[in-house]
Symmetry: C2
Subunit: 300 residues, 2 copies
């Protein structure tokens, strides 16, 4: 394990209107000592410069859905972000055997998810990073979204040994907020510190298990007969990310003021509750289950 990590990519502006990551990359480019660690190289990248220029999430397609191995190798996908993904695949990859060992991708959300650490494997390196950050930032939430690295279409999946999405909110798109900027910055510092400790074979005292949440499914916003959004998040649920939603609890409220309850049969937990970026697909929130995340990979 010693010195197994040689190249780490810290990426911002994967979504061009999430300014926090963009301005952290700008800041670190002029203060490289902050992200430098003795045992590996840290690269800084603006993931989507075209979208950053336009202060938009994306120009043609969501860049953070383009890194599936089949899509990367499909020459017919020629939209702006599809081409950008191919360029990043050359720069960081190739995906089958990437040059980059670990990707730390910085995001923000309009939802009240605080500092959320999103990982997709049971690998101890990746899970351990999330645990280490949460040890230092106890309010952070562990968000487990299982997927296969090659099939995963997120930029984080370009890391040979793992990847982490740092997702902080609430913050509107298109602006900076010092608290959010500072939380993302702090989380990245801990992530790099963790990799340095691992790389140099130092003992990292981590618990075997920590509480977290596993992604279950996305819940659409209610629509009218014409397929238009017809309801919004119920005020009782707004800002209540990672809190229990029990059967019968209010989920939505229609434009006319009528409450729509949760019709599931067991307690779940909300996340991404009222994310602006998901309105184009009429998605209202994600449902999660509370689980014990295991350092050794069997989350239950």
């Amino acid at each position: 394990m010693i010195n197994s990590i040689e190249n780490v990519a810290v990426t911002g502006g994967t979504h061009g209107n999430e300014l926090t990551g963009v301005y952290l990359v700008k800041h670190w480019l002029s203060h490289p000592e902050e992200v430098k660690r003795p045992s590996f190289l840290t690269e800084l990248h603006f993931s989507n410069p075209s979208a950053i220029d336009e202060i938009r999430r994306y120009v043609d397609q969501d860049l953070n859905r383009q890194f599936n191995i089949e899509d990367l190798n499909n020459p017919d996908l020629r939209g702006r972000e599809q081409q950008r993904a191919k360029y990043l695949n050359e720069l960081l990859g190739p995906k089958e055997n990437p040059r980059i060992d670990f990707v730390i991708d910085m995001h923000t959300t309009t939802t009240n998810m605080g500092t959320s650490l999103i990982f997709n494997s049971g690998d101890p390196l990746e899970v351990g990073m999330a645990f280490y950050i949460k040890q230092h930032m106890p309010d952070a939430a562990l968000f487990y979204n299982p997927s296969d690295r090659l099939q995963d279409n997120f930029l984080r999946s370009m890391g040979r040994l793992g990847g982490l999405v740092i997702e902080v909110g609430p913050i509107a798109q298109g602006l900076l907020n010092y608290q959010v900027y500072s939380d993302v910055q702090t989380a990245v510092m801990h992530a790099l510190d963790y990799l340095e400790l691992r790389n140099t074979g130092q003992d990292i005292p981590l618990p075997q298990k920590m509480e977290g949440y596993r992604f279950l499914k996305k819940i659409p916003l209610p629509e009218n007969a014409e397929g238009e959004i017809d309801a919004m998040i119920h005020p009782n649920l707004q800002n209540k990310d990672y809190q229990a939603i029990n059967p019968g609890d209010p989920l939505f409220i229609t434009l006319a003021g009528e409450t729509i309850p949760y019709d599931g049969e067991q307690t779940v937990y909300g996340a991404f509750i009222n994310e602006a970026a998901y309105y184009d697909r009429h998605i209202g929130l994600s449902l999660m289950e509370k689980i014990q995340i295991s350092l050794e990979g069997q989350h239950s």
Copy 2:
């Protein structure tokens, strides 16, 4: 004064990513009884359908800066929103002598301005509407931004007898929030009720004076030598709209964490503190002075 108001326009989506007004117009189009008043006609308009379709503030130019009389009559201004303003000038105007008597334009902001009632004249009809709404919504703020109706470039200036901007926040762009939706809806209801009372000659007990704020100037976000944004709103100032800013108080914090204080010589009050829509012009906040708004027009 009796029956002097015949046509009132309620407009939403002047900025296409401020969904609250868009969805209130949609709601009222299917529930027209809510905006109907016996003594005048209420028209509902989507101000900028192209921008609404794209969930963007605007396509080519900010529509809400295109209603200056010279610009409306300048055939060389042919951008998407410049043409849309000419269309609205035909529909609601002409500006020199508008068909529409009063415009109520619905907006939202990423800033913590609560319910802000923005008016630009000392006319008792317009000021009285703001007073009437504030009587029923005591937390609402009176925001006086003096301008000449013909020179004013906001959509609200298309009303022959007056106009009001209802500006509610905080809310991110591109989403709905029930509290904000409900506050805008309630404020519009009071505005229409007020016009009905005025139109039918009923006695409306209003105070002669109420506390409010007069716009002074906009303060740019600090820039580096390359003209890039180099600092953000200081955390002590974030969300503190309409609170006092004294000489020496923290205003900004640089990306590197250095505080930049307010270097003015007298106490002012902030508004539009960290509005995402103003980042393209690198504007950080507006400074206001606290004044007594007079029903008869001499604000001091």
